[in-house]
């Protein structure tokens, strides 16, 4: 399941909707990314996340397909927000569902790596008097 949205979300509810479909599921690894109040020693007030939405869906699908080739996954959930996000807001949730722990852990990390490299989102970081477009360093 891939969702690209402005709205905040409840991770527990989103994950439960998928979990409940699979009684053979034993392991979920989830990564959540948040807006921090500082970055590179500057005080951040908010970020504006721009997205190329149609491409983002396509790239997320490709990344999930790659993960499915490498690990035994039951399902995957990616929720990525865009628009104005204040400090403390969730930016992204990636959850990987599997029978056993190793598959969910490794695939979740793998998906985050590719998401950081390939997902067409751009962070415009707002400080008290100026703003700056960021690029992912890893």
């Amino acid at each position: 399941m891939i969702k690209i949205q402005k709205e905040d979300f409840n991770s527990e509810e989103e994950i439960n909707k998928i979990k409940i479909l699979y009684p053979n599921l034993g392991a979920i690894t989830s990564f959540t990314g948040y807006v921090r109040n500082k970055n590179n020693n500057k005080k951040v007030e908010s970020i504006h996340l721009e997205v190329y939405e149609a491409m983002a869906y396509k790239q997320f699908e490709k990344i999930i397909n790659k993960a499915n080739l490498k690990w035994d996954l039951i399902d995957c959930l990616i929720i990525h927000r865009y628009g104005k996000l204040n400090v403390n807001s969730k930016i992204v949730l990636v959850s990987c569902f599997s029978a056993h722990r190793k598959d969910s852990f490794e695939s979740c990390n793998f998906i985050m790596d590719y998401l950081k490299k390939d997902a067409p989102f751009w962070k415009n970081e707002f400080y008290s008097k100026k703003n700056k477009w960021l690029a992912n360093s890893n």
């Binding site: 190329y52 477009w133 992912n136």
Partner: protein, 81 residues
């Protein structure tokens, strides 16, 4: 063909999308040449090879042929997640 610009590229083009069609543009390299001519301030960024190009939502590195129905996107390194 439809061209889309993202992040700070938009600040240079003053435009987030436009339709460009010319008999001179049959492949990605020709499109790049056209765009640099139209937006000279983009040249240094093209030269530094930091920009990324997508054709119909796929990353493209090589010089592929373009069709009038294609959607081409030009953007800086991503920073999602």
């Amino acid at each position: 063909m439809k061209i889309k610009y993202f992040a700070w590229i938009k600040d240079i083009t003053n435009n987030e999308a436009e339709e460009i069609n010319s008999e001179k543009i049959n492949n990605l390299d020709q499109l790049k040449t056209f765009i640099i001519k139209k937006y000279p301030d983009l040249k240094k960024h093209f030269d530094k090879e930091v920009l990324r190009f997508a054709v119909n939502h796929e990353y493209i590195i090589e010089n592929i042929n373009l069709d009038t129905n294609d959607e081409i996107a030009i953007f800086p390194p991503v920073s999602g997640g």
